[in-house]
Amino acid sequence: MGSAAAFAPRATGQLSVFKPVREYIDSLVHPSVQQDPLAAARHRAFIAPRLLGSLIALATFPAYIAVRGVPSVLEVVVFGWLLVPIFVAYFLSRTGHYEGAHVLSSLSLTGLVTAVAWNTGGIASFAAIWLVVVPLEAALSASRRVVALASTFALLAAGFLVTLQFVGMLPDAAATANEQGALAALGIVSASLYATGLALGAESLARTSFWLLYAEVDRYRLLARNMTDVISRHGPHGAVLFVSPAAEPLLGARIGDLLGHGFFDRVHVADRPAYLTALADAASRGETRSVEFRMRRDAKDGKSATQFIWVEMRCRPLDQTAGQATGESEVVAVIRDVTARKEQEQALDDARSESDRANAAKSHFLATMSHELRTPLNAIIGFSEMLTNDEQMRLDAQRRRDYAKLINDSGHHLLSVVNGILDMSKMETGDFEIMPEPFAPAQVIGNCCDLLALRAREAGLDLELRVPVDMPNITADKRALKQVLLNLLSNAIKFTDRGGRVIVSATIEMGRMVLVVEDNGIGISDSDLPQIGNPFFQARSAYDRRHDGTGLGLSIVKGLVALHGGDVEIKSVLGKGTRITISLPADCEQGRPARIAPDIQPAPRPVAHQQTATPVRKSA
């Protein structure tokens, strides 16, 4: 494990001589605890001293014999007993049963001490003090059960020795008083040394567990610091208790400012309910919740405007058992910047609705075209069918001539609709050519007014012309100017109620001709104004259209004016009237780009009514 590697190098440096021993002892650790560093350390701490101690004891046996001469039976038994820890160590190695190994170890130590004490003066023996070591050794097991058992063994052994002395079953002590003193000292010193060894072992285990814990914490800290996702911990009511450093670059704020309710303050007001609900659900219901919301990000330099980023937060209760116990637990959350994905989704959405809108506009355009073509066709087909059956219909010559004229009128109307569509489509594709020539604008304007004077009179309108007689010539496409004016005038007449007035005025100022058509008609609402002049208009609802027309009139005006390098300005107040100002260069050949793409928006939104006119007489 990485954590072990983090603090192991110092140890291996010192213990390189013992490396083979270490490796051998490591290999004895039972596989079931190999993955748990602390348990493995406990197993090593159990196996190593027992193996080494027993081997050293056996190694000293020949030296002991050399000093003492032929050993007594007891001495042989004692040395034999010293082999028991080896078996206990292998028991642990094979079974992985740590507590059982400790119990066996306690039993064997108790047995050895009891046997020696029995033969060297019972409870008063130098060896009896070793009984104290038995529970001490068991303390390393970190198991109360083992400690309790070991204590019981020691007490039973002590009781046994006292009983033996009481019933006089102790063998005679062979040692002299001097020897007894030396032996007592030996017993105390050896027991103290062994206890010291145990204490050192305990300290080493404690240190190991501390290092392991530290490494664990360090590892998580490292993870949290290096993740781009933010990890946060939320207390009751969503207050932030911890937030990982990744939040700083994400939100452009210091960690300290995000703690408590600083984080919540950055959540977009509209998204706060969703944010709080997710946290509350995670805390109270103990379920994982995911929520997407916007958060304020402060600009790095503190000058540029703050922006909002989209984040996704997945939160779950920190401790599910604790949560169930108290009803409300802390929540841990992972927060991720999903702005890019959100922007993509938004772009996709926009594209889709844009295309939907364009599609709807197209269908509507088709429906309207169909309507506008069918209306004159109805008269053409109807009257011609009547002419075909003139005898059956009992039509006289006058009637027949009338019908022929009506058919002719309708045909012309139809032609003008078709021309309008073609002009529009040419302007859209940029194929519309204008042919500029010098001419007197006052005359053309006058002609247009004459053409529509009758219709204005029929509609009960006052048509007024305000054009200076001495207006200089301009260079433009004469036919186009005529069409522009006819379209604007037809619109004004169509959308002005009986008794109203329409004023046409023109001036030339600063090299531009300014043409104004003004009415006091129904006007255009502010919301519809931006859509006015879109070729693919859409009425409030097809059946509700109050005025017929193709909607092409004004869009053709816009296109023609743009081709001259001019501007169209529409001002209108609903219910008060409309004022359309056309501004054209007096000489459109000067400074006009070779070919201007007409100012036509192909994607309109719904328009309540259309300000339209085809450039021809409308038979209403």
Binding site: L366, L377, A379, M386, N389, L406, S410, Y543, D548
Partner: protein, 123 residues
């Protein structure tokens, strides 16, 4: 006594066409290009049949049909929609709006007269 047909149609030429056709077949006609006036005429003349254009100034033909069908005295008068709205779905929507029949423009004279006869019988 000849049967009377109320023609609601805002296009002058089409109005003349329907008027002449009906007259040639012996029906009497009353005409208006305005939906609101159509209600007045319907009350005054109690026509036997109404030909209704759908796109009208001020108020749509569908709206006028709704008024007619909501009027206990006028709702029995059959209404034939004669309209240039002839796209998919238009007929259904117009019939749902209360019109008894639907004719799309351009009309066929034969079918027009046949439909009128269906409601009025021979003049």
């Amino acid at each position: 006594m000849p049967k009377t047909v109320l023609i609601v149609e805002d296009n002058e030429l089409n109005m003349k066409l329907f008027h002449d056709l009906l007259e040639a077949h012996g029906y009497q006609t009353v005409g208006t290009r305005n939906g609101i006036e159509a209600m007045d005429l319907a009350r005054r003349h109690r026509p036997d049949l109404i030909l209704m254009d759908i796109q009208l100034p001020e108020v749509s033909g569908l709206e006028v049909t709704k008024w007619l069908k909501d009027d206990s005295e006028l709702k029995s008068i059959p209404v034939i929609a004669v309209t240039a709205f002839a796209m998919k779905g238009d007929e259904e929507r117009i019939r749902e709006g209360g019109c008894e029949a639907y004719l799309s423009k351009p009309i066929s004279v034969g079918k027009f007269i046949e439909t009128v006869r269906h409601f009025l019988g021979n003049a």
